[in-house]
Amino acid sequence: MTVMNFTAMIPFALTWYVGMTNWAPQLTSNWWEADFLGPLNYIRVIPDDLFLNAIGRTLLFSAICVPVEFLLGFLLAYVFMGDFFGKKFFVLIAIVPMMVVPAAGGYTFYLMFIKLGPINGLLNILGFNSIPFLMVTKWAYVAIILADIWQWTPFIFLIMGAALLGLPQEPINAAYVLGASRWHTFRTVVLPMLRRPTMIALILRTVESFKLFDYPFMMTGGGPGYTTQTISMHLYEAGFRYLKYGPTAAQSIVILLTMAIVGFYAVKPLRAAQRGE
């Protein structure tokens, strides 16, 4: 275990060091030959607009996508509670989007949102004008968010569906017997019992949404301009397309440290839930 931890540390140490150099493969081919800059790259992280804006945008995507996905998924799970004819079929269909390879899904959504795609076709039929979805920042956001919602609402639906299924029925029936209304029972009896699965669903989805890459990459390529570029895309572009290894390594370290701290606290409730505490 100690060996494993130590091995895992080597790449991080390497990144940390490269982050202190001006290394770029077109200057010197080996990282140990690059000029040592000290903490300069780490200090430059703060005024780097591309980097900071990418973080901001990623947080904005998360802040919109996760709550919408949660509400939709939960609503769906609640409506589908109990047995009825055809339920198996509907549940099966509902989880299909999660199984689509995100790169292929991203491409399909690109094709759906282009000028003569089906979304604009539908808008025209309903009497609206076509919207240049992927050309205008605001609409590009809408398109990417819709794609993310399409793929990840099933995730929440599954978790909350399982949670609702596992609820003890006695307190709910007792509330009905005591004359509580459906809404009142839901709010005061069902919701408190769902606190733990809700936490788990939100934590997992939020952490995962910080990694957002495939959909914006395939749908807009970060455009128009850089306005839909997420943090993962920024690190990819700066590091592996423009080969700015030094600064990107510094930014990677900043992201890794932040996410390690976030992850550490996010893991706690997960583990508690797993142990049944």
């Binding site: 199984m99 292929a104 599954l158 399982a162 890459f213 993962s232």
Partner: protein, 296 residues
């Protein structure tokens, strides 16, 4: 009477939602499918094509059959315009790579991860926090040192290098998931085996592993789906030789531009294994997706 009316209204609401789900969940897949069936002239339409006007299986054939053979067989007229819509290379390489890498990576992750999970479950060895925290880091931020490391030992764009990554990246997932399955086995079972004279490694291989057979299968399928869907790692590490399906989808370009039909056809092909496996483990999906936190 009032109760019955309420029940009927409830059922109607359920079906309205159900139909909504069917429409929203399946429409993008329908669109991918129609694109895959459209001939090249309909890819960039002058009006919305709700369905392929002249459906063709050519896109699927071009995925597997080289350009020269397609022309030899006369499937595409040899005119200049038609030639331009054929890709320089087929997708066969990426499909084979994806199959090798996803399967191989899964086996590596399972082999190492399961032993670690057993150690964590039975002997409380080490800190298990690190594993899941690692899973929460954005992969792109970890790839920089890996690219540096791989470039010095010539593993960039190679199958062994990718195999290593596809074995290591999903490993935290294996550890956590298998741990929850091992935790389900009461410790008395192990103790009984030990008293009967089995050594701890024997308890692991002969007692514990057979008991978590189902869990092992589910975990394997999960890891396969994770590796199969990966874009970031493959995009960064591979360029030509070790490309996978998600990378190939973005690479389908010819002299005329993006080959939308081929991309969609490959997308459809790529859905088949994940969808099949996903439906096969439907019962365990929740448990897998929540790292074992909800038993589902």
């Amino acid at each position: 009477m009032e109760q019955r009316l309420e029940n009927i209204i409830n059922l109607i609401i359920k079906y309205i939602f159900g139909l909504g789900v069917v429409f929203f969940a399946l429409f993008p897949i329908y669109w991918m499918f129609t694109m895959a069936l459209k001939p090249s002239i309909e890819w960039i339409p002058t009006q919305v094509h709700w369905w392929p006007w002249n459906p063709t299986l050519l896109n699927f054939m071009v995925l597997f059959i080289p350009k020269e053979t397609i022309l030899d067989w006369g499937l595409v007229e040899a005119s200049h315009a038609a030639m331009l819509t054929l890709p320089h290379e087929t997708a066969t390489k990426s499909i084979i790579n994806s199959l090798i890498l996803s399967t191989g990576g899964t086996l590596i992750a399972l082999f190492i991860g399961t032993t670690a999970a057993y150690a964590l479950s039975r002997y409380k060895a080490g800190s298990d926090y690190l594993f899941l925290t690692f899973r929460m880091l954005p992969p792109i931020a970890i790839l920089m040192p890996i690219v540096i490391w791989f470039s010095t030992i010539h593993l960039l764009d190679s199958l062994p290098g990718m195999l290593l990554l596809y074995g290591l990246f999903p490993m935290p997932f294996v550890v956590w998931l298998m741990r929850s399955f091992f935790d389900d086995i009461p410790p008395e079972v192990d103790e009984a085996a030990l008293i009967d004279g089995a050594t701890p490694p024997q308890v692991f291989t002969k007692v514990a592993l057979p008991l978590v057979r189902g869990g092992l299968a589910v975990t394997a399928l999960f890891i396969f789906i994770l590796n199969w869907s990966d874009l970031v790692v493959a995009l960064t590490i591979t360029h030509r030789h070790a490309i996978t399906i998600p990378v190939q989808i973005g690479l389908f370009e010819a002299d005329v531009g993006h080959l939308y039909g081929l991309m969609s056809a490959l997308g459809i092909v790529a859905i088949i294994p994940t969808l099949g496996f996903g439906l096969a483990i439907q019962k365990y999906l929740v448990r897998g997706l929540t790292f074992g936190a909800i038993k589902g």
